[in-house]
Symmetry: C2
Subunit: 406 residues, 2 copies
């Protein structure tokens, strides 16, 4: 598996584009398109929130039907959630506008929206946007990045990842983009993500692998414990590489690894770019009884406001970490736990067998001041482990979310 | 039922005191004592955190045994959690020091601690404190307030509440104090609370009523979703009024109402004094299928960082409220919900049948700027309701928790 530059156009047969449609934001792009000429098999996972945005309802139906798709159109600025019947109509209108431009059927167009909840999408910008999206379509690297940039809301950087691997001398590629900065919490993060591959694979296998990839990536990050109404993760496989992936093949494992890599990379980029975040905060729970339990414990730590503010303040307030493990809802023996801090290759044991070591506070503060901070929670009870990613809770998070309707 | 001024000394036969023992804080009181000469029946509820502080383990054992108690000693500054064997010894030493001073048995002394996790309690200040606590004991109103003040950590105001009711012309009183500002989340809030009554009541009945009172009060507030290692709620009944409360009596219902009132008042005072909070944020979920479901929905809204920052910014970002209801983990129909904002007797319907009304944003901002803001979520599906209390998420929360080890 080889990490490569690129996003949704890294795999063969995909084009992307961005457009400044003026939906809500001014002076920036706010619509994106991912297009495959060859029809693609599609898998998807969606928010578990009871309140589901119109595009989520639309996509769920298309993914469930299982017919091939040709395009994903995405917009930022307005989430098209809590918009009732009118919202469903506007969402359909967005799909229709793109289908008309691309000369494909409406039900071959997936949609995704992100932004303010409760506002209606304006029709005219959508239609103008669809024309521009068609005009700007390109298979180039820049087009993928422009698309990744157009779906940003409070994100500060576009998020892309791609890898390739060889099957019988033929290159198969998996590349993706995502957005997500606030309203980010497992099941899934508030996020839109589109991943493309030129492998050929059955819909059932792709759906299974997509679910597995989500479980260890997007569902293991949190910015603010808020699960959004719009979370959408779509994976398109158009077979343009000429390689067919089936269970039992080595290529199946390679493909799985590639998909997991892309989704994990995108998830980590979202955690690091959490609203107001200054650091990526990684929690590894090791030697745990089961993987599920390790995940539960890890997620409890990355979602604790008290831990997150301490990380912001570079304060080794490990008591808050033990406390967050303690209310995760799973049993363990607090009297045998070790906690170790790690950053830039240096580690420091803070807690041994449940009580503080005589670690240096100065050294701890130094490690906590780095851009990526890892805490290892050694439960000493088994062989399973899991990793969760979050970020610090800062003044800017409050500013971003208290100052304007984001 | 008559609301009265006072705290833990409002009921007959109780004395309280405070002392500046110098445990961690300087220049302020940091130990408190509640004493009843007549032995008292005691009920208690404690944190559900797997990591339990030494005083919690101590009290649980005493409450489980069911023998009468004479005193509760509390300290602030150091939580005596994650302190291993030494922590248990220091906790016992605190009980011994007080028992010696009061000439009672060690197992008649309950303990409670709040403050930094992981530090050991220093012995000398504890012993000095015990002497001062004995010297300062008084049944007066000022002594109760001094005790309520001595247990504060990041709290900005002491928290007390008291009521009385008549049984056959005899006054029965219930009064309490509590502390709690950060690490506050249902099951239970990070809090210490002691309530006293001069009613006589069986231990079984008192425990049952205490659990009920907690379910609707302390377990319905949240500051930061962090459930602490030290939560302790103790209710002492010494019978000094001469009135015995039994099931089936009208007085039983009166007592229940009184206990609920005191615990709810204390809970609301804690929510309003949440770390960095500028407002009390109340969420009423009405016309819900069941009370449990209404509680779940209400707690989801008060714990959402995005809702809390919007309340801080006085931004009527109702989409975040619907979103928080949506990820609460219970089913409902988002397309029939109404949301109403209420403050100082004025109300404003923001959402009707799941979509925005044409409410005035200016009016909404005005209501959200008040010190107590209520949101009513009308689920339109049944007859049950519940209320939850929280506060806004502010720069000061980040400051308090990022800047120093609180």
């Amino acid at each position: 598996m080889k990490k490569i530059e690129g996003g949704v156009t890294a795999a063969k047969g995909y084009q992307a584009s961005a457009a400044a449609a003026g939906i809500k934001y001014q002076g920036r792009t706010d619509m994106a398109l991912v297009y495959t000429e060859k029809p693609a098999v599609c898998a998807g996972t969606f928010t578990t929130n009871v309140v589901k945005a119109a595009p989520v309802l639309w996509d769920k139906e298309i993914v469930a039907k299982g017919a091939p798709v040709h395009a994903v159109v995405l917009n930022s600025g307005i989430a098209n959630a809590c918009t009732g019947e009118e919202g469903k109509q506007q969402n359909a209108a967005m799909a229709v506008a793109v289908a008309d431009q691309l000369d494909i059927r409406t039900e071959e167009v997936l949609t995704a929206s992100t932004g303010v909840i409760g506002m209606q999408l304006p029709l005219e910008p959508l239609q103008k946007g669809a024309v521009l999206l068609k005009q700007n379509l390109s298979a180039g690297r820049e087009a993928a990045e422009a698309a990744a940039r157009a779906i940003m809301t409070t994100d500060t950087v576009p998020k892309e990842a791609a890898v390739s691997f060889e099957v019988d001398g033929v290159t198969v590629t998996v590349g993706g983009m995502s957005k997500g900065s606030g309203m980010i919490h497992p099941n899934m993060a508030t996020m839109l993500s589109v991943t493309t591959t030129d492998a050929a694979i059955s819909r059932e296998d792709l759906q299974e692998l997509t679910k597995e990839a989500v479980a260890d990536s997007f569902n293991m990050i949190s910015v603010d414990r808020d699960t959004s109404t719009n979370d959408t993760y779509l994976v398109l496989a158009n077979g343009a590489s000429g390689i067919t992936i089936q269970k039992g093949m080595k290529a199946y494992e390679d493909f799985k690894e590639a998909l997991n890599y892309v989704s994990t990379e995108l998830a980590k980029q979202m955690a690091a770019d959490g609203e107001g975040a200054t650091k990526l905060f990684e929690v590894k729970v090791v030697h745990c009884e089961s993987r599920e339990k390790a995940k539960t414990l890890g997620k409890s730590v990355i979602t604790s406001n008290l831990v997150k503010t301490a990380v912001f303040g570079s304060d080794a307030n490990w008591g808050r970490i033990l406390c967050a493990l303690g209310y995760a809802g799973v049993p363990f023996n607090p009297e045998i736990i070790d906690l170790t801090l790690e950053a830039e290759g240096t580690s420091l044991v803070l807690v041994q067998d449940g009580v503080a070591t005589d670690y240096s506070e100065g050294k701890a503060t130094e490690l906590l001041s780095k851009q990526k901070v890892t805490v290892i929670c050694d439960m000493k009870e088994g062989d399973s482990s899991a990793t969760a990613w979050g970020c610090d809770l800062t003044y800017d998070y409050v500013k971003i979310n208290g100052d304007y309707r984001s």
